[in-house]
């Protein structure tokens, strides 16, 4: 469209929203977002679910356990954290109406888990995600988005789990490639007998890469 073109006046003048004198806002309407706060030490009262750790049904074919610990800056295990995971199914679809490709439905899979670290480590049972489009015509490596909540954390911290046995896909992944080489390993879960291990370091030399989302 040539901005210098003069439109033909085919009807009575109609003021457009967003223009001076129209009575409409000249900028997008925005409400201030509600500020975050710590979950505090008593999150177990409100955020405990009997089925929380099951992103996939118990016994689901191909199911894996992702287990890990959360460490503080002194290297001590954090026993009062909550870890939440969200991910695609093995075909790369999301069980969400917000997926622009349509909500996926994969048998025995809900994609979301919530676990505590009370025993010293968290564990979630899930299916390994497939590759997900990056929106630019390429594919992301299989990954899981993770939120960590705890007393002493005023706004949840966000990280991602990638998988050590996806070296090829990981090498192509645009998020991993954007990180300094020596920090990428903090996002890569190692293979274990029954799944994967993914430790989270809130601080220290091995501080996990956290993302601003």
């Amino acid at each position: 469209m040539n901005p210098l073109d003069v439109p033909e006046a085919t009807g009575p003048y109609q003021p457009r929203s967003g223009r001076r004198g129209s009575g409409f806002l000249t900028e997008p309407f925005r409400l201030g977002t509600t500020p975050s706060a710590t979950v505090g030490p008593y999150l177990a009262i409100g955020l405990t679910w009997p089925d929380g750790i099951w992103a996939a049904d118990e016994g689901a074919e191909g199911g894996v356990w992702i287990r890990g610990r959360v460490f503080d800056g002194a290297g001590d295990v954090v026993p009062d954290a909550m870890v939440e995971t969200w991910q695609a199914d093995p075909d790369g679809g999301f069980p969400s109406p917000e997926d622009p490709r349509g909500a996926a439905s994969y048998p025995g899979f809900r994609g979301y888990a919530r676990a505590q670290t009370l025993t010293g480590e968290f564990g979630v049972f899930t299916l390994k995600p497939g590759r997900v489009p990056d929106g630019e015509g390429g594919l992301q490596a299989p990954h899981i988005d993770v939120s960590v909540f705890a007393r002493g954390i005023l706004d949840r911290v966000v990280t991602r789990i990638y998988f050590a046995d996806e070296a090829g896909a990981n090498a192509e992944d645009v998020v991993l490639r954007g990180l300094p080489e020596d920090r990428r390993s903090t996002l890569v879960a190692e293979r274990t007998d029954d799944g994967y291990r993914f430790d989270i370091h809130l601080q220290g030399d091995r501080e996990t890469v956290f993302f601003a989302v």
């Binding site: 997008p28 710590t38 008593y42 009262i45 929106g135 909540f149 005023l154 706004d155």
Partner: protein
């Protein structure tokens, strides 16, 4: 908002971040527990892709009707001042967020949590477990009947007392909208010395405080407090746009 597909490209909404000057920082020195727990490195920007703009659907199956009333548990009535807490969950574009799971937890009227770690010697109330859950309706509305929580000391510093508050957890519709927060009550005299409250930048603190609602206060029954919760909205508008993105 649902995006569209075009060939191999996916148009996904981008969720607006609140300006850093109005966001609660992840760590705050006066809140001692952050010292070893809040990450020290600057977080890496993660562009919003499919994983970030989708989220779990956690609806009605997690909630029973009695979960909205925290005052009647274990066959009796909780001690304390009965309050109605209600409001609307919106996104920053002002759009209601329907079908959102809202989870709350709080101390009892004496300021004590039903939790083994809480050793504050206020009595436990057998009829108050301090847990509630609701799902927002089609207009994003939620409502709880509960007890005004008491203040309690917590040892962060000399004479440290938490202002009365209710913990809230919300999912919204996308991973980026996930929010855990605390609702406060108007004019609490304990705000001044509370580092968790004061970690919120001054210009945003009012957003964490509920409003006394005379219109919903019920005669001879319960005080009412209104608290609207705003999750992050998208930078797409629901209006038609010109090719150059102007709002038409």
């Amino acid at each position: 908002m649902t995006g569209t597909t075009s060939g191999s490209r996916l148009h996904v909404p981008s969720y607006l971040r609140e300006d850093d000057s109005l966001r609660t920082p992840v760590g705050f020195p006066d809140y001692r527990s952050t010292g070893l727990r809040a990450p020290l490195r600057t977080p890496v920007d993660l562009p919003h892709r499919l994983t970030e703009v989708t989220g779990p659907v956690l609806g009605e199956d997690r909630v029973q009707s009695q979960d909205a009333d925290l005052t009647l548990r274990n066959g009796g009535e909780a001690v304390g001042q009965r309050i109605l807490v209600y409001g609307q969950v919106l996104d920053s574009g002002g759009r209601p967020v329907p079908d959102a799971l809202v989870e709350v937890w709080q101390a009892n009227a004496g300021g004590r949590y039903r939790h083994v770690v809480d050793n504050w010697p206020a009595p436990l109330d057998p009829h108050f477990d301090g847990l509630g859950r609701v799902v927002t309706d089609s207009l994003g509305r939620y409502e709880f009947l509960t007890i005004k929580p008491g203040a309690y000391p917590w040892g962060n510093h000399h004479n440290a007392w938490r202002p009365a508050h209710i913990h809230f957890s919300l999912f919204g519709r996308a991973f980026t909208q996930r929010l855990v927060t605390q609702m406060y009550f108007p004019d609490d005299p304990l705000f001044g010395q509370d580092p968790i409250y004061n970690a919120i930048p001054p210009a945003a603190r009012h957003r964490a405080i509920s409003r006394y609602s005379l219109e919903r206060t019920q005669d001879n029954w319960a005080l009412a407090f209104e608290w609207n919760i705003v999750l992050r909205g998208t930078d797409q508008t629901p209006f038609e746009t010109d090719d150059d993105g102007d709002v038409a």
